[in-house]
């Protein structure tokens, strides 16, 4: 139930019984051959797994070229050449890693005999993935989404409706993911008898953080096999964006015992590091309780949840999955920060070097990789100390950027230079 001191079950009494029911159902099904077979078939033939692990050669070269141009003192035999691989979750059905979790939980819901699904969504990717699975399984679907996010992510709202979901606008609080989550939980409290709550990230009360992580671990398992096939070894770095943190925990988890692999989560620095202007929870938050579990949070001294901001609706969340809080505290993972502008630059850079438009969420991981590779510490560590001149980096490209193109275009920032 806990990851160190984090996790747990901080919910109204009404939800204890359904959470117990969920835990029992999951524990009895997860290792059952029929369940695994069904899930694997769906992952392969519907989701499109395994997703590719792609060597981003031109992007990798662009990073090194920058270093050489920036630092005239680097001697002429400078030959560090980091190789950046992209784990292509953007190629999954519906365009993001979210579908791994929704197909798993969808099958679970069906086996539990539930007729209705409720979910929350921020950027809309989880809402779309949930609506997709509900359509495929013939379940009624309600998705709560903040009004602010609805205005940012019109395309995904349309997709959800097309898929037959009922999209409920949330007008309370900050009108973003946090409030959509509150409303989804309230809806669940009121409809527990026939409704399955399909939580979209590795957050929430036990057993959700474990269930979501387990369904996302497929990303890390595939990555491990693929990079070992191509390079004959594990990567040196794994980089993934962290909002709630499901794509990050999915790719990190199978590597946790591989000490040589540095695990890096990247949080949204938003406009600036001031109250209400960012969402860098693990970097600037404190421990507390939100949405049913104990984890790091952005909160004021009174324990009231702070407003947050990110250019990316999927990272715009004041909490984080409890397992990340644990990995931070035991120093197994590092968490960096990338601001809105850096993410936008990376959005453009990957698009122009590789012909891949990343989700704004994933662009945070790309931007961090750029900063990291061009940092003195990285050069010291790899070029001078380890003499590892071809460090291997895997970025989890958690989603594609189609949903963000209109928003970025409206900002008018990309074509300037």
């Amino acid at each position: 139930m806990y990851f160190g001191e984090f996790g747990g079950r901080y919910v109204p009494e009404t939800l204890i019984a359904p959470l117990n029911e969920l835990e029992e159902a999951y524990n009895s099904l997860k290792d059952e051959p029929d369940f695994k077979k069904e899930l694997n078939e769906v992952l392969q033939n519907y989701v499109g797994r395994p997703t590719a692990l792609y060597y981003a050669k031109r992007f990798s070269e662009a990073l090194t070229k920058d270093i050489k141009e920036m630092d005239n003192n680097i001697d002429s035999d400078f030959d560090i050449n980091p190789k950046v691989y992209l784990k292509r979750e953007d190629l999954s059905h519906t365009g993001a890693h979210k579908i791994n979790n929704t197909v798993g939980q969808g099958i679970l819901a069906k086996k539990m005999g539930k007729k209705k699904i409720v979910a929350e969504t921020g950027a809309g990717q989880h809402g779309v993935a949930t609506a997709t699975v509900a359509a495929r399984l013939g379940l009624e679907c309600t998705v709560f989404m903040g009004e602010e996010d609805i205005s940012r992510q019109g395309l995904n709202v349309f997709r959800m409706k097309l898929l037959g979901a009922n999209v409920e606008p949330v007008k309370t609080g900050s009108k973003t993911l946090k409030d959509a989550t509150n409303e989804a939980i309230r809806y669940w409290v009121s409809n527990v008898s026939d409704t399955y709550y399909l939580l979209g990230s590795a957050v929430g009360p036990h057993p959700y953080p474990t269930i979501v992580r387990d369904f996302q671990k497929v990303i890390g398992h595939e990555t491990k096999t693929q990079i070992n096939d191509v390079e004959g070894r594990n990567p040196d770095y794994i980089v993934a964006c962290v909002g709630g943190g499901s794509n990050a925990i999915g790719i990190m988890h199978p590597f946790i015992d591989d000490d040589e692999v540095e695990l890096i989560g990247v949080e949204a620095g938003g406009e600036k590091i001031e109250r209400g202007c960012h969402a860098a929870v693990l970097n600037y938050g404190t421990a507390g309780v939100l949405h049913g579990s104990k984890s790091y949070l952005l909160q004021d001294r009174e324990g009231q949840i702070e407003p947050v901001h990110s250019i990316s609706a999927g990272l715009d969340y004041p909490g984080v999955g409890p397992e990340h809080s644990y990995l931070k505290d035991i120093n197994r993972a590092k968490y960096g920060v990338v601001d809105d502008k850096e993410a936008l630059d990376a959005f453009k850079l990957l698009s122009s070097t590789e012909g891949i438009i990343p989700a704004l969420e994933s662009a945070h991981a790309i931007a961090y990789t750029k900063k990291m590779v061009q940092s003195k510490e990285f050069l010291d560590e790899n070029l001078y100390n380890k003499k590892n001149k071809e460090p291997l980096i895997v970025i989890n490209l958690s989603g594609r950027g189609d949903k963000d193109v209109e928003q970025v275009s409206d900002m008018g920032v990309l074509l300037d230079g």
Binding site: M1, G8, R9, Y10, V11, P12, E13, T14, L15, I16, A17, P18, T172, G173, K178, N182, I185, R186, V189, S190, N191, V192, S193, T286, A287, G288, V289, L290, H291, G292, K294, L297, Q299, R301, E302, G303, Q304, I305
Partner: protein
């Protein structure tokens, strides 16, 4: 079956016992600290207690109240940036003028942030008798329960979804009163009323003598009467908050007549 032995220094339980001896049921009105402002809350609290309110439940405003419906959530929003220290002062002021039991409804995060032990000690000293934490299930309350022991009652919940084992566990650990959530849902005024919790209420009486109070959705004297037939007390929140919401906006001399008449009607309806 033997009932679990209840502890004997609870102000709340003694209050219930006195009322029950006179064949009276207990009315527990809920108001939010700071809605619309702290001085109004203080005046209103005392008026309510003078006119039929037995135990007052005061809310600590919270940004993300998971167990509450829109009426109480908006009440917390109207209360705005009320600080814990101000609520502490409010409790002291009300305590100075009444001997009736006072309970605080607070979500766990502000308590955790303040420091659980300090929170309990400070509020106990201020004169609080009970603490209702809607998002703190048994699984997470061991530490707090120890800290609260002999200082104030940590109120337990049962819901229509609580199974037999759960009811036994609640019975074993209950103090003050047991908050019986009438329906699987959030707080809020409901038109018709179906007491889904009836079965759980009947069952838990086999295991404990700690008083039972039914809440969530009770919005008029008729519903209050029906709830009081099942239990020892009735909790009314959203319906009162709706009346506070429509108080005239004048800063002083607020007219509480409508609210007070409502409290009197509710009290009179209890069987």
């Amino acid at each position: 079956m033997d009932k679990y032995i209840e502890y004997d220094n609870s102000v709340i339980e003694k209050y219930f016992a006195t009322k029950n001896k006179n064949n009276e049921k207990v009315l527990i009105p809920f108001i939010m600290a700071g809605d619309p402002d702290l001085s109004t809350t203080e005046k209103l609290a005392l008026e309510i207690l003078d006119n039929g309110g037995d135990i007052l439940e005061i809310g600590l405003p919270y940004s993300d109240p998971l167990a509450d419906g829109p009426v109480i959530q908006q009440s917390a929003e109207r209360a705005g940036n009320v600080k814990i220290a101000q609520v502490l002062e409010l409790i002291k002021k009300i305590r100075a003028k009444t001997d009736k039991p006072l309970v605080l409804l607070a979500y766990f995060n502000p308590i955790y942030n303040y420091g659980t032990e300090k929170f309990i000690n400070d509020f106990c000293e201020a004169g609080l008798n009970g603490l209702v934490i809607p998002d703190l299930a048994f699984e997470e309350r061991d530490g707090l329960e120890k800290q609260a022991k002999d200082k104030l009652d940590l109120i337990s919940f049962i819901a229509p979804t609580s199974d037999e084992n759960r009811l036994k566990e609640v019975a074993k650990r209950a103090k003050g009163f047991i908050y019986c959530v009438s329906v699987a849902g959030v707080t809020g005024v409901r038109e018709g009323f179906d007491y889904q919790v009836r079965e759980a209420v009947e069952k838990i009486k086999n295991y404990t003598d700690v008083p039972l109070a039914i809440g969530f959705g009770i919005s008029n004297p008729d519903q209050a009467k029906k709830a009081s037939e099942l239990a020892d007390g009735v909790i009314v929140g959203s319906a009162i908050i709706k009346k506070i919401e429509s108080l005239p906006k004048k800063p002083d001399n607020k007219d509480f007549t409508e609210i007070i008449n409502f409290i009197k009607d509710l009290k009179a309806s209890l069987v």
